[in-house]
């Protein structure tokens, strides 16, 4: 590279846009040409970093090392991810409408179920004493002999209407 070529690169060096190969050529010229170095440094002192020399070659084993890690599974294998926002952006309008309708229906159903549960027990349930055997699923104790402790307990529970619970 000649001095005139190097000096033409002044602006591109400072503002960017010169490819790395061109930059390396300018750098090697600047290392041996004090006149160009003085001109370019007066414009932009940071151009002086180019005289620091070449970077070493990329290590030959670097790509192999990365690929070996990927193939060995020592890093997390990429799995397809459910990308909701990406799906939304790429989907056509009918899919948006269907998703919105499903959401509205789901919310409405949930709201109605919530309202229904706030009403308390139905009319047939009010005032009926709870059966402790049914409530506690203690069918095996239904045949407790009269006078036994178990039978006395269930009698007492039925009288108080609390199911012994």
């Amino acid at each position: 590279m000649r001095c005139s070529d190097v000096r033409q690169c002044r602006e591109t060096l400072s503002s960017g846009g010169l490819p790395p190969e061109g930059i390396r050529e300018v750098g090697s010229h600047l290392r041996t040409c004090p006149a160009c170095r003085a001109v370019l440094l007066a414009d932009d002192p940071l151009i002086g970093v180019l005289t620091a020399g070449e970077s070493p070659e990329t290590p030959a084993h670097l790509a192999l090392r990365i690929q070996a890690l990927v193939r060995s599974g020592r890093i997390q294998e990429p799995l397809p991810v459910w990308d909701l926002w990406g799906w939304w952006r790429q989907s056509p309008f009918p899919a948006h409408a269907a998703a919105a309708a499903t959401l509205v229906l789901g919310l409405a159903a949930g709201f109605l179920m919530g309202v229904d549960s706030d009403r308390g027990p139905g009319p047939g349930m009010v005032g009926r004493p709870a059966d402790p055997l049914a409530a506690l699923a203690l069918d095996a104790l239904a045949d407790a002999p009269a006078g036994s402790l178990t039978e006395s307990y269930f009698s007492l529970a039925r009288q108080t209407g609390q199911g012994g619970i």
Binding site: G16, P19, P45, T51, A52, Q67, P78, P80
Partner: protein
């Protein structure tokens, strides 16, 4: 057979195609290596940094969207890894560059070049990490303000301000060493 573009390879890598990802690594490792080496000043650290950056790219491949070029995306990943590395390790390049054993003037031209290189590295190392990274991307890789802004997550004006601060800081040292 036509060469597959980077975006196509990334889509394949996102589905677990290790060979496609290997092709991406082969294409872009030189750029990533140069930036990492210039930034850290240490070959072993640069290797780890580049490996880490590419593995991040592989892990993120299923979520990759070709909004911008893959090269722009890789710039961003590598610059982030550089800054993360700096935050964790706070390296001092000048610590790793051996001092000349003979403090007397060196007549040998090669020795003078080595000495100049050491001084420039030392001056660069004293810059804050974001300014140093901006210098590497602009002056060694030739990126323009817009590309640098995308890579560094800043505006083009902010990038130019970083470079202006770096110029101000380095002007006296570089002119002394190189004038």
């Amino acid at each position: 057979m036509s060469e597959r573009d980077d975006e196509d390879l990334m889509r394949a890598a996102g589905k677990g195609d290790a060979a496609a990802f290997g092709e991406i690594v082969s294409r872009h490792q030189a750029w990533a290596w140069r930036v990492a080496w210039r930034f850290t000043g240490d070959a072993a650290e640069a290797e780890d940094l580049v490996q880490d950056a590419f593995l991040k790219v592989f892990e993120a491949a299923p979520r990759y969207r070709a909004i911008a070029s893959f090269r722009t995306y890789l710039h961003r990943v590598v610059t982030r890894r550089c800054l993360d590395w700096h935050r964790k390790k706070r390296p001092l390049l000048s610590d790793r560059i051996p001092e000349p054993t003979d403090p007397a003037p060196q007549p040998d031209a090669a020795a003078q070049l080595r000495d100049r290189e050491r001084r420039i590295r030392s001056a660069l190392d004293e810059l804050p990490a974001d300014q140093r990274l901006a210098v590497v991307l602009r002056y060694y890789e030739g990126l323009d303000a817009s590309t640098m802004a995308t890579a560094m997550g800043r505006t083009p004006k902010a990038v130019e301000r970083l470079l202006a601060r770096a110029r101000k800081a380095l002007r006296p040292r570089l002119q002394t060493h190189l004038g």
